[in-house]
Amino acid sequence: MNVKEIRELADLVARRGLASLEVEEGGFRLRIEGPRPAVREAAPVPVSAYPAVPVSWEEKAPRIEAPAPAPPAAAPEVDSGVHVVTSPIVGTFYRAPNPEAEPFVKVGDTVEKGATLCIIEAMKLMNEIEADVAGTVVEAFPKNGQPVEFGEKLFGIRPA
């Protein structure tokens, strides 16, 4: 089944007001759930209140491949033309290699694929996060020193 066909089925579910539609064939499985009912709202997730943590800046940090994992379903879309880099790990976000230095990138900068965007510190290790597309940085989400979760939005890049 291709994307077009899936879209057709999704439209069908939405138009007919179906609760769900499920197809399974060989290794393939498709499940579409209809528009959310007004009934029970999704339970509100408590907003995490992170305290600032002291950080030891290190000379050399390991590089992590910017895996740009498939953004989790819950990550809201920013703009269809913008690629969002999300955090592949949990840790503390830093925009510069040390407190005196300039940020790796600023909004408006053009970045190459593989350019370092930021550092995320986890377990005293400084993990460099790289751009997985080339383009223009149009948004920087977390503040310097802010804790980030897995899957949290870091930067918006409009691909070149």
């Binding site: 949990v90 840790g91 804790p147």
Partner: protein, 456 residues
């Protein structure tokens, strides 16, 4: 006492730990994978951190993410629950290195009890009975016969290189043993390219009886009686109770003392469980020690009135054991009434295939002597990535009969729709005369499920 505890788990046990922290006035941090974003433990905790994608290896087993989550939230201790990293000594050590308290036993105790043969040796040296058998491979038929004569028939031959029941043979007397030894050697040679055999005492219808122990940092170790967990399917416990229908007060004290000795041998601290095989003649043998809180801990809570999870946290904070009147060197342990836990899994009650899905209706039973531990709620989509435990129904009565009757009515009033559950299995189990009379071994349930006439 801790200010903030990170709960490195999910599901009902995460909720259970959060409840214990709340009662102690400790703030909580929940961690979750992307598919557990709407899980109840996330809602119940004071804070939450997404630690990775659905795959457990990338989230709930991801030590780096967990430590980072504790660091960014300022937690000062971590409770691992059961499963996942609960028996990972390495995780415990890392936490202590970065200055976080591990709510669990010392890493060294985890390690020594985690390795089967080290554990058995440790128990043996502590004077705890282990299944008698050859210390190493048996060289010849003559050696096997001599050994069997000493430990008594029936005996079991098993391939040194074997596993999963292959290359195992039971012999009831010398003649059978002589024949079996040759056959098993050939079989093992063929199957594993190694004909060496162990010989040990064979327990025809053993029960799985485990003893709850608890130690504090001051060196005190007590036991809280036993749990009968013989009703198992593929080594998964289905139905647990305390006390065991097969354990007398005198046997309870002997098993309790043995369990304490095993725990003391590894300087145990916190909640632990010493599992024994109990033979029909009342002999019991050390199987292994679980160095964590168990799924079935509520049955012990019901017959003691103690809160084992709060006690884990207190003990980890350095407090002495708070239990009054428990089993130990000077006290005799007396269970208060009878408790049974029914594990309600989201799976087909006959084929045991998992049944993930969305819960459309849920009504949990209440009333006297009924406890339900669950993280389920209406609208919750059970993720297929984790275990299928949906709820634990625990009942307590003055007698085993009352507990059984209470279990039946609670199961009848327990409504889950949207997924299939093992509630019908438990109702069928309660109809089985052997279950009603407590006559079963670890082999009973699979025999019964396969339709063989139940004979305990």
């Amino acid at each position: 006492m801790f200010r903030k505890v990170l709960v490195a788990n999910r599901g009902e046990i995460a909720l259970r730990i959060i409840a214990a922290c709340k009662e102690l006035g400790i703030a909580t941090v929940a961690v979750h994978s992307t598919v557990d974003r709407d899980a109840l433990h996330v809602e119940a905790a004071d804070e939450s951190v997404c630690i990775g994608p659905a795959a457990p290896s990338a989230s709930y087993l991801n030590i780096t993410s967990l430590v980072a989550a504790a660091e960014i939230t300022g937690a000062d201790a971590v409770h691992p629950g059961y499963g996942f990293l609960a028996e990972n000594a390495h995780f415990a050590e890392i936490l202590e290195e970065v200055g976080l308290t591990w709510i669990g036993p010392p890493p060294e105790a985890i390690r020594r009890m985690g390795d089967k043969s080290t554990a058995k040796d440790t128990a043996k040296r502590a004077g705890v009975p282990t299944i008698p058998g050859s210390p190493g491979p048996v060289g010849s038929t003559e050696e096997a016969l001599k050994l069997a004569e000493r430990i008594g028939y029936p005996v079991l031959l098993k391939a040194v290189a074997g596993g999963g029941g292959r290359g195992m043979r039971v012999a009831r007397n010398g003649k059978e043993l002589a024949a079996a030894f040759e056959l098993a050697t050939v079989e093992a040679e063929r199957a594993f390219s190694n004909g060496s055999l162990y010989l040990e005492k064979y327990l025809a219808e053993p029960r799985h009886v485990e003893v709850q122990v608890f130690g504090d940092r001051l060196g005190k170790i007590v036991h809280l009686g036993e749990r009968e967990c013989s009703l198992q399917r593929r080594h998964q416990k289905v139905f647990e109770e305390s006390p065991s229908p097969a354990v007398s007060p005198e046997l309870r004290e002997r098993m309790g003392a043995a369990a304490i000795a095993a725990a003391r041998a590894v300087d145990y601290v916190g909640a632990g469980t010493v599992e024994f095989l109990l033979d029909q003649d009342g002999s019991f043998y050390f199987m292994e020690m679980n160095t964590r809180i168990q799924v079935e801990h509520p049955v012990t809570e019901m017959v003691t009135g103690f809160d084992l999870v709060k006690e884990q946290i207190r003990v980890a904070a350095g407090e002495p054991l708070s239990f009054p009147r428990v089993g130990g060197a000077t006290d005799e342990f007396r269970p208060r009434g009878h408790a049974i836990e029914f594990r309600i899994n989201a799976e087909d009650p006959e084929k045991f295939t998992p049944s993930p899905g969305t819960i459309t209706t849920l009504h949990v039973p209440g009333g006297p002597g009924v406890r339900v531990d669950t993280a389920a709620y209406i609208g919750w989509r059970i993720p297929p990535h984790y275990d299928s435990l949906l709820a634990k129904l625990i009942v307590h009565g003055q007698t085993r009969e009352e507990a059984l009757a209470r279990g039946r009515r609670a199961l009848e009033l327990f409504v889950v729709e949207g997924v299939r559950t093992t509630i019908p299995l438990h109702l069928r189990l309660l109809d089985a005369p052997d279950v009603r009379h407590g006559r079963f071994s670890t082999k009973w349930l699979e025999r019964w499920l396969s339709g063989e006439t139940p004979a305990a």
